[in-house]
């Protein structure tokens, strides 16, 4: 598969002041050496707990943030080297859908203006053509022409998320980054929106970077899944393989923590001690070792590297 997006050793450190008076500097290592590739038409799921760097990764890929180090290639274009004009074109090809459908739509704009804004900025359509295109987009996401004149507050969470998706699709992107697009929605509505994402991918041949903390959702929608912990990818594999045969102790704990909807199966649950450490004081050696039930000799001194232990299955752990 020819990759549409290649991310190489991406890093983003945010400087923070430590201490009250002395202005001591420290870095929050939000993303610390992340590499992956996504094939055309593929869905890569990115999972991890809050603060693991998944949203920062998304913002770096879109160049909404400048990186500390690393590269992102979209097709043949190096994203961080693109000039203004090239960036303008890239933005058409890469779009994002945000988590919170309540704060990501401008309350003073009508649905027509929200969805049509990209068409105007990229000079893709105007006048009647624009109106028709917006209507077509709304129908594509399960809304209708009659919703065009309405404002965001008149819609439910699920409908707003559909508007957000229509807005992202307006400019005809190839890559859609979805940052927790269903986590604010109710269960019954979640399923509708997940189905919509899948339908649109099939119709339009879209490539997805799908970010979520809900492992069920990620498993369902992704071809491959990358698991992040404290700014790094600790495991990456085909979705079925990852869920059948998780190798990293963190992935194992994450999967065992998902409650099963069958009162009769009592699962062997791996309960991790403590909280994820702060990305300001990253533990030496393997970042997971203070919480790892399987840690041994080299773990607290030597950082493991992400290695391919079986075809397509990558893990960063001294056990393998």
């Amino acid at each position: 598969m020819e990759p549409l997006l290649v991310v190489k050793d991406l890093k983003k450190y945010f400087p923070v002041k430590k201490g009250l008076w002395f202005g001591e500097r420290a870095d929050v290592r939000a993303v610390d050496g992340v590499s992956f590739a996504i094939g055309r038409g593929e869905t890569l799921g990115l999972v991890g707990e809050s603060g693991c760097g998944k949203s920062t990764t998304a913002r770096l890929v879109l160049r909404l943030l400048e990186p500390t180090a690393g590269e992102v290639h979209f097709g043949k274009t190096p994203v961080f080297k693109a000039n203004r004009k090239e960036m303008h074109q890239l933005r058409r090809k890469m779009q994002i859908v945000f988590q919170d459908p309540y704060s990501s739509l401008d309350p003073r704009m009508s649905v027509k203006e929200i969805v049509g804004e990209g068409l105007v900025i990229h000079r893709l359509a105007r006048g009647k053509e624009k109106t028709d295109r917006v209507a077509e987009l709304l129908e594509m996401v399960g809304l209708g022409r009659e919703h065009m004149g309405r404002y965001p507050h008149e819609f439910s969470g699920g409908q707003r998320q559909r508007i957000g998706i229509a807005r992202a699709l307006a400019v005809g992107p190839e890559l859609l980054i979805a940052d927790e697009p269903v986590s604010a929605l109710d269960v019954s509505i979640q399923a509708q929106v997940i189905n919509l994402f899948e339908d649109l991918q099939r119709q339009l041949g879209l490539t997805y970077l799908f970010i979520a903390h809900d492992l069920r959702v990620v498993k369902h929608i992704s071809d491959r899944v990358a698991v992040m912990y404290l700014g790094q990818i600790v495991e990456l594999a085909e979705s079925d393989e990852l869920y059948r045969n998780p190798l990293h102790p963190y992935t194992q704990a994450l999967l065992s923590a998902i409650p099963v909807t069958d009162p009769k199966t009592k699962r062997q649950r791996i309960i991790l001690e403590g909280d994820p450490p702060s990305p300001i004081q990253v533990p030496a050696g393997c970042r997971f070792h203070p919480r790892c039930p399987k840690r041994f000799d080299p773990c607290d001194t030597e950082a493991p590297v992400l290695r391919e232990v079986s075809p397509g299955h990558w893990v960063s752990c001294h056990l393998y």
Partner: protein, 324 residues
């Protein structure tokens, strides 16, 4: 009234009188909790599960809300008829509650030790010193590491998981017979969620208290609840033991909820999710008959004119559906 229950709610009606009309957030809810059991209360946003919980504690903000009908019997007393003073001695003592968002439920300007001790001193005549010692003891019980030191910390110094543990400590400090936990794990990460559920269930067994666990997460319910009540649009639509509910859900809404969850079993990925069509109902504009009818895949003509009763279909398994 069902026998041997700790709490019995009969035909509870809690309405909100808003500018746009009367919102019947809870409209005829009947349920009971036995001593020591875990009752799961499931439903989506706006179904009335939190309003039911707040009604039990009489914490409905008035105006705009008011409990307009029904009874809530706790250990033989109707809570809705108690004078406010007596109610205050029940709240946080015999019945306590933990909330979803631990950051906004804790006071940022007091140490967590002070906040736990405050509850103890409010209900019992003990010295400041003694209350503090007991607070540290409770913090130890909820497995906060190094509680004697942590008690001096402020909420912002603690992680989300530890804050939720402090909330649990406050709720359990006086040994309640009933704990209401409103989405206690929703704001937490998966691995922390597992810790908190584990802790709650352990403490429940230790302290022999009943728990009403409110959540939209069916997985959490399956793993913890003895019985489950499913709510939709301010009503109970199904009630059963956890085994019955997950094995043979009778109401189409419950069936839909279970089917719309992505399955974890490995296999072919492109199996479409069976979503429940339509929108979460608007409580200002409900149909006259079955409230789920507009979204129901099995709807028939008889569903529209009158609302079905909650009937016992099998022993202990109740459903509000004419097809069940």
């Amino acid at each position: 009234m069902r026998n041997g229950s700790l709490l019995t709610i009969q035909d509870l009606q809690t309405h909100f009188f808003t500018g746009e009309g009367v919102v019947r957030a809870v409209d005829g809810v009947t349920l009971s909790v036995r001593p020591g059991e875990t009752l799961g209360l499931v439903g989506e946003s706006g179904c009335g599960k939190t309003v039911t919980a707040l009604s039990i504690l009489r914490l409905i903000p008035n105006p705009p809300g008011r409990i307009v009908g029904g009874t809530i019997c706790f250990e033989g007393r109707d809570l809705l008829r108690l004078p406010e003073e007596e109610m205050r001695s029940i709240r946080g003592c015999a019945i306590s509650m933990i909330f979803q968002e631990p950051m906004t439920s804790l006071n940022p300007v007091f140490t967590v030790g002070e906040q736990v001790a405050e509850g103890i001193r409010h209900h019992q005549k003990v010295s400041r010193r003694e209350a503090w010692d007991r607070a540290v003891e409770v913090l130890r019980r909820v497995k906060i590491p190094d509680p004697a030191r942590r008690a001096y910390e402020y909420p912002h110094q603690l992680s989300g998981g530890l804050r939720q543990r402090v909330m649990i400590a406050m709720a359990l400090a006086l040994g309640p017979r009933l704990l209401i936990a409103d989405e206690p794990t929703t704001a937490l990460d998966v691995t922390i969620q597992a810790q908190i559920v584990d802790l709650l269930m352990g403490l429940q067994e230790e302290m022999q208290m009943a728990v009403i666990l409110i959540t939209h997460d069916l997985g959490v319910i399956a793993e913890t609840a003895d019985r489950v009540v499913v709510m939709y649009a301010g009503r109970v639509v199904e009630e059963a033991s956890a085994e019955q509910l997950f094995e043979t859900p009778l109401h189409p809404y419950t069936q839909g909820l279970l089917e719309s969850l992505p399955k974890l079993e490995t296999g072919k990925r492109h199996r479409r999710l069976t979503a429940i069509p339509g929108l979460i109902p608007n409580l200002l504009d409900l149909p006259t008959g079955c409230k789920f009818a507009p979204r129901c895949p099995k709807v028939i003509g008889d569903c529209w004119p009158t609302e079905p009763e909650l009937r016992e279909i099998r022993p202990g398994h109740w459903a509000r559906c004419i097809l069940a």
